[in-house]
Symmetry: C2
Subunit: 188 residues, 2 copies
């Protein structure tokens, strides 16, 4: 893992995760992460915008996946159905990394800094989904609320999925959580 070895970004991600899990997020410095990957602090910040971002590398691709699914869904489907199906199907991106997901989730729970970053990624996803709905001619306020409800169900399902014994299907969990949300909120 010397200076000119390939995949510097990937090495940094792996080093960061390793050190964060070993000693806790706050106790690790960016210089140490870089050193562990055979690089320097200055180079770390060329690959990731800040100390937290290294844990959220996949967020952009994930969001694109969901937005694409919303944009390209059949025009006859109801907004909420489109959103929840897109989010449920995103499980295909998550399933292969179930164990990693769990460790990452616990790490995030251990630091308010990381929680803040996690929340703004969810907010970004919500805004992007709402925007995609508006492109489908959904009324703006309804688009916002549908996106919020969908992402709330997704987020709660995500936690349930990360916690359980590993036999559950993510997409199914998302749909069930939306049904629970419907019960919680009362009849339309």
């Amino acid at each position: 893992m010397g200076r000119w070895d390939p995949d510097a970004g990937g090495r940094l991600q792996h080093s960061a995760m390793t050190l964060y899990l070993e000693r806790g997020y706050e106790a690790v410095t960016t210089a140490e992460i870089a050193e562990h990957a055979g690089l320097k602090k200055r180079t770390y910040f060329r690959h990731f915008a800040d100390k937290r971002e290294v844990l959220f590398a996949g967020a952009e691709a994930f969001q694109s996946f969901v937005v694409d699914a919303v944009v390209h869904a059949g025009t006859d489907r109801a907004p909420m159905d489109v959103v929840i199906t897109a989010l449920a199907d995103s499980g295909t991106l998550l399933e292969p990394y179930r164990d990693y997901t769990r460790a990452r989730r616990d790490l995030i729970a251990s630091s308010t800094d990381l929680q803040e970053r996690d929340l703004i990624k969810l907010a970004s996803l919500t805004a992007a989904v709402a925007e995609a709905l508006r492109e489908r001619e959904v009324e703006p306020l309804q688009a916002t609320l549908t996106a919020q409800a969908g992402v709330a169900a997704f987020s709660t399902a995500y936690d349930l999925w990360a916690d359980d014994d590993g036999t559950s299907d993510f997409g199914r969990l998302v749909h069930q959580t939306l049904d629970n949300l419907r019960r919680a909120i009362g009849a339309a």
Copy 2:
């Protein structure tokens, strides 16, 4: 506003808001805020945990108000009704500061750092409301989802309220937004 004048915390809040609005959040340093209030940087950090927190001073009292309303609501009322009424009634704390609220909202929108802090305050409110529901013997998952839906409606109504012409009633807006959320999510 010398060294030993009273209400140092309040002076810091006022100085921060003034300077942030004048020059933008990122362009102001904590040392400048302290100086403007007749204090030193070290003292600023004895009153507020970090550069952002000075804009969220009322959050704790606000959350307590909402949680109390949930805890002390009549035992015969449905969870969602309890939550949305508590949030709608919180408007009495907001109404007197409508203009300030608007300026603060725009300021937060101008900085991702501030957005992150805003989101974690909302998440904290959501968690506290969910916990209050569980004390009312609401089933845990339903408590979480009810709190999420309620706070989502509150948050969206808050934006609508800050944007409009100043004649609308906050509580009414919160209830209407929940109705819209019900329409968005579909029948129970």
